[in-house]
C-alpha cells in the first residue's frame, strides 16, 4: 500500500488549477451579466423609484399622505376588495374547469394529448387584446350569444354578460386557464401508474384511488398553477378594463387613472407598492401554509 499524504509534492500545479477555476467563475458571470443587468435596469431600479415616489407629497417633501389616503378612503378599500374578489373567483373557476381538463389530458396517449393540448395553447399564443375584444363581440347585448339565445327562444331579454363582473370573470378565466392547466398537467403526468395500480390492488375502488392517491399527488401542480393564476389576476389590467365596463375597478386600473387622469405618480406608486407587498405576503404565506415540499414527500 502506498501511503496517502498531502506533502509538498502533491501540491504540484495547485495555483494553475486555482487560476483555472477562478477564470471559469468569471466566464460564467460574464455570460449571466446581460440578464443580471437587464433585471437591474428594468426591474430593481423602477421598483425602487416607485417606492421612493410613493413617499413624496405633491410638493416634493417626504410624507405618508398617499398611504394615509388609501387607509382613509373607502374607495381604495373597495378597489382592493374587488381585486381580491375577482382574483379569487377567477382562480376558483380555473380550478373547477382546469382540473378535469388536465386530468383528461393526462389520461390520453401522448399523441392525442399533444393534439388536445394545442386547443389549450392556441388561444394562449393569440394576443390578449384580440381575445378580450373577441369576448366583447360574443357577450355584448347584441352579441352572438345573446342574439342566438333569443332567436332560439332560450331567453327573452338580452342577458347582461358583459360590462360587469360576469364578463370580467368569463374573460379572465379564459385567459388564465392555461396557466393553471400546464403545471397541473405536468404534475399529473409525473404520477406513476403503479401508485394507482397499488392502490387498486390493496382494495381501493376507482373513486377511492382518485381521492386517496391521485388527488393528493396532483396537489403540488394544482397549488403552483393556482398561485400563478391568482398572482397574475391581482395585477391584471386589459380584460377587466374592457369587459368590466368601468364597473369592475381593479388596482391596476386605479393606478392607470391616477397617472393618466391625475398625473399623480405618488399615489399610483403607493398603490403599486401596496399591491406588491400584499402579493409577496400571499406568496410567502402560501409557501408556508401549503408546505409544498412536504406534499411532494421531500422530493422523489
Amino acid at each position: 500500500m502506498t501511503e496517502l499524504s498531502i506533502g509538498s509534492d502533491s501540491r504540484a500545479n495547485e495555483s494553475t488549477f486555482l487560476k483555472q477555476s477562478r477564470r471559469e467563475e468569471w466566464a460564467l458571470l460574464g455570460l449571466a451579466s446581460p440578464a443580471i443587468l437587464t433585471v437591474l435596469i428594468v426591474m430593481v431600479l423602477p421598483v425602487g423609484w416607485l417606492f421612493y415616489l410613493s413617499f413624496l407629497a405633491d410638493d416634493g417633501s417626504f410624507s405618508l399622505e398617499h398611504y394615509n389616503r388609501m387607509l382613509e378612503s373607502k374607495a381604495y378599500g373597495r378597489i382592493f376588495m374587488t381585486t381580491f374578489e375577482v382574483s379569487f373567483i377567477t382562480t376558483g373557476l380555473c380550478i373547477l374547469i382546469g382540473y378535469p381538463l388536465a386530468y383528461f389530458l393526462s389520461q390520453l396517449s401522448s399523441r392525442m394529448a399533444a393534439l388536445c393540448m394545442l386547443t389549450v395553447l392556441l388561444p394562449f399564443w393569440t394576443s390578449l387584446l384580440v381575445r378580450t375584444y373577441a369576448w366583447l363581440v360574443l357577450l355584448q347585448r347584441k352579441g352572438l350569444i345573446n342574439s342566438w339565445g333569443i332567436d332560439l327562444g332560450l331567453w327573452d331579454e338580452p342577458l347582461k354578460l358583459v360590462h360587469n363582473l360576469n364578463g370580467t370573470l368569463i374573460g379572465m378565466v379564459h385567459i388564465m386557464l392555461p396557466f393553471l392547466v400546464l403545471p397541473l398537467y405536468g404534475s399529473m403526468k409525473a404520477i406513476s401508474a403503479d401508485y394507482l395500480k397499488a392502490s387498486s390492488n390493496l382494495g381501493a375502488g376507482p373513486t377511492q384511488t382518485f381521492w386517496n392517491i391521485f388527488f393528493p399527488l396532483s396537489l403540488p401542480g394544482l397549488f403552483a398553477g393556482a398561485l400563478i393564476v391568482f398572482v397574475l389576476c391581482l395585477g391584471f389590467f386589459v380584460t377587466p378594463a374592457v369587459l368590466g365596463g368601468g364597473k369592475v375597478i381593479m388596482v391596476s386600473m386605479q393606478i392607470t387613472s391616477n397617472i393618466e387622469l391625475f398625473f399623480n405618480w405618488g399615489a399610483a406608486s403607493a398603490l403599486g407598492v401596496v399591491l406588491l407587498v400584499i402579493t409577496l405576503a400571499i406568496l410567502l404565506a402560501a409557501s408556508r401554509l401549503l408546505k409544498l415540499d412536504n406534499v411532494l414527500g421531500g422530493g422523489h
Binding site: S192, D194, Y195, K197, A198, S199, S200, N201, L202, G203, A204, G205, Q208, T209, N212, I213, P216, L217, V295, L296, G297, G298, G299, H300
Partner: protein
C-alpha cells in the same frame, strides 16, 4: 397475520394477444395452495403479463383464472383481495410508512386500534419495527422493499404476487432478501406467485418453477428437475450454462463420434442432443470410473475466476466443451494448461438428453 387458509390458483387456456404477438399463448397452470411458484423467463416472455392478469391489471383475450373455486377473470383488481409487491415498490410518497402499510386496512374499515396492532405486527415481520412515522423518501432501497412487503401482507391476503421485487437491490442484499422472503413464505403460508428473470433467484426460492417463453409455458417442475432435466434446448440454455452435442440415436442406444454413451432415461423417439453443464464435467487424472463417459481434447484456454476455474477444451471433431471446477488445491484441473491433452469425464446420471432443435 395468523396463518391463513391459502388458496390454490387454477389457470387454463389463458391467451393475450398484442398486435400479432402472443403475450400469453394458451397458458394452463395449477398453483397449489401455499405453494411458492416462480414464473421465470427472459424479458418479453409473458411472465409479467401473466402476473398482471392474476392481479387484474391486464385483461386477457380469453381463458380462465380461478382462485379456489371462484372464477375471477373479469373481477376488477380491487375486489380480488390479493397482495402484490411491485417491482419499484409503488409506495405512496405522500404517506408515512405506517399510513402506507395501514392503507389496505383503512379501505377495509378496520378499527383504529386493530389497524395499529396489525401495522405494528407487519412491520415487525419485515424487521422494521419503529419505522412507522418515517417518510418513504427517508428509506433505503432495502427498507422500501420491506415496507412494500409489509403492505402486501398486512391484510392477510390468501394469495401474494411479487413482480421482480428484488431487482432494484444490490447483490448482497438481494441474496439476503431471497432467504428472508423464503422464510416469510414458510411462516405465512400464502400461495405465492413470484416473477423473476433471474434464474438463480428462481432456483433459490421456489417450490416449483414455471419457465415461460414467447407466452408459452415451457416446463413446470421443481428447481432441481428444471436444472437437471430441462425439457428442451431453450430451458437448458436459459437456466445455467450448457453445451449441446449432437448425438446419434439407434433405438435405445446413443452414441457420439462413434462411441456409445452411458446416459439416463431417453426421451421418446426423435433426434437427440446431449446437454453438458460445465460443472458436471471433470478433468480426469487417472482411469475413468465405471459409469463415466470420456471425451478427449486439447485445452484451448484457461480462465481463472477466483472460486472457480474454466477450461475451454476442443474435442477431436472440433466441438468446444467448457469445464468448470472449484479451485481447491489438488484439483486435477489446476494442473492443466493451454495446449495440454486432457480427458474429460461425464457421469451417466449427468448426461441429459433433450429433443434436438436447430440453434
Amino acid at each position: 397475520m395468523s396463518k391463513q387458509q391459502a388458496l390454490p390458483i387454477s389457470i387454463s387456456g389463458l391467451t393475450k394477444v398484442y398486435g400479432d404477438i402472443f403475450a400469453l399463448n394458451d397458458v394452463a397452470l395449477e398453483v397449489q395452495s401455499g405453494e411458492f411458484l416462480t414464473l421465470l423467463g427472459p424479458s418479453g416472455s409473458g411472465k409479467t403479463t401473466l402476473l398482471m392478469a392474476l392481479a387484474g391489471f391486464t385483461r386477457p383475450d380469453y381463458g380462465s383464472i380461478r382462485f379456489g373455486d371462484d372464477e375471477i377473470i373479469s373481477m376488477p383488481p380491487h375486489k380480488r383481495g390479493v397482495g402484490m409487491v411491485f417491482q419499484n415498490y409503488a409506495l405512496f410518497p405522500h404517506m408515512t410508512v405506517a399510513a402506507n402499510v395501514g392503507y389496505p386496512l383503512k379501505l377495509r374499515k378496520t378499527s383504529k386500534a386493530e389497524t395499529e396492532k396489525l401495522v405494528a405486527e407487519a412491520l415487525e415481520t419485515v424487521q422494521l419495527d419503529g419505522y412507522g412515522e418515517r417518510r418513504i423518501s427517508q428509506l433505503s432501497g432495502g427498507q422500501k422493499q420491506r415496507v412494500a412487503l409489509a403492505r402486501a401482507i398486512v391484510f392477510s391476503p390468501r394469495i401474494l404476487l411479487m413482480d421482480e421485487p428484488l431487482s432494484a437491490l444490490d447483490k448482497n442484499l438481494r441474496e439476503h432478501m431471497q432467504i428472508e422472503l423464503r422464510h416469510l413464505h414458510e411462516k405465512l403460508g400464502m400461495t405465492t406467485v413470484y416473477v423473476t428473470h433471474d434464474q438463480r433467484e428462481a432456483l433459490t426460492m421456489s417450490d416449483r418453477i414455471a419457465v415461460i417463453n414467447h407466452g408459452r409455458l415451457m416446463q413446470l417442475d421443481a428447481p432441481r428437475t428444471i436444472y437437471e432435466r430441462p425439457a428442451n434446448r431453450f430451458i437448458a440454455e436459459f437456466i445455467g450454462e450448457s453445451t449441446f452435442l449432437q448425438v446419434e440415436r439407434d433405438g435405445d442406444r446413443v452414441s457420439f463420434s462413434g462411441s456409445e454413451l452411458k446416459t439416463g432415461a431417453l426421451p421418446a423417439a426423435g433426434e437427440l442432443s446431449l446437454v453438458i453443464r460445465p460443472e458436471r464435467l471433470s478433468v480426469l487424472d487417472g482411469p475413468a470410473p465405471e459409469d463415466t463417459n470420456v471425451f478427449s481434447g486439447t485445452v484451448r484456454e484457461m480462465v481463472y475466476q477466483g472460486d472457480t476455474v474454466l477450461a475451454y477444451v476442443t474435442l477431436a471433431d472440433g466441438t468446444d466443451l467448457t469445464v468448470r471446477a472449484g479451485t481447491r488445491s489438488g484439483e486435477p484441473i489446476e494442473k492443466a494448461s493451454v495446449g495440454d491433452k486432457v480427458e474429460l469425464g461425464l457421469k451417466s446420471a449427468d448426461a441429459v438428453l433433450i429433443p434436438r432443435e436447430e440453434g
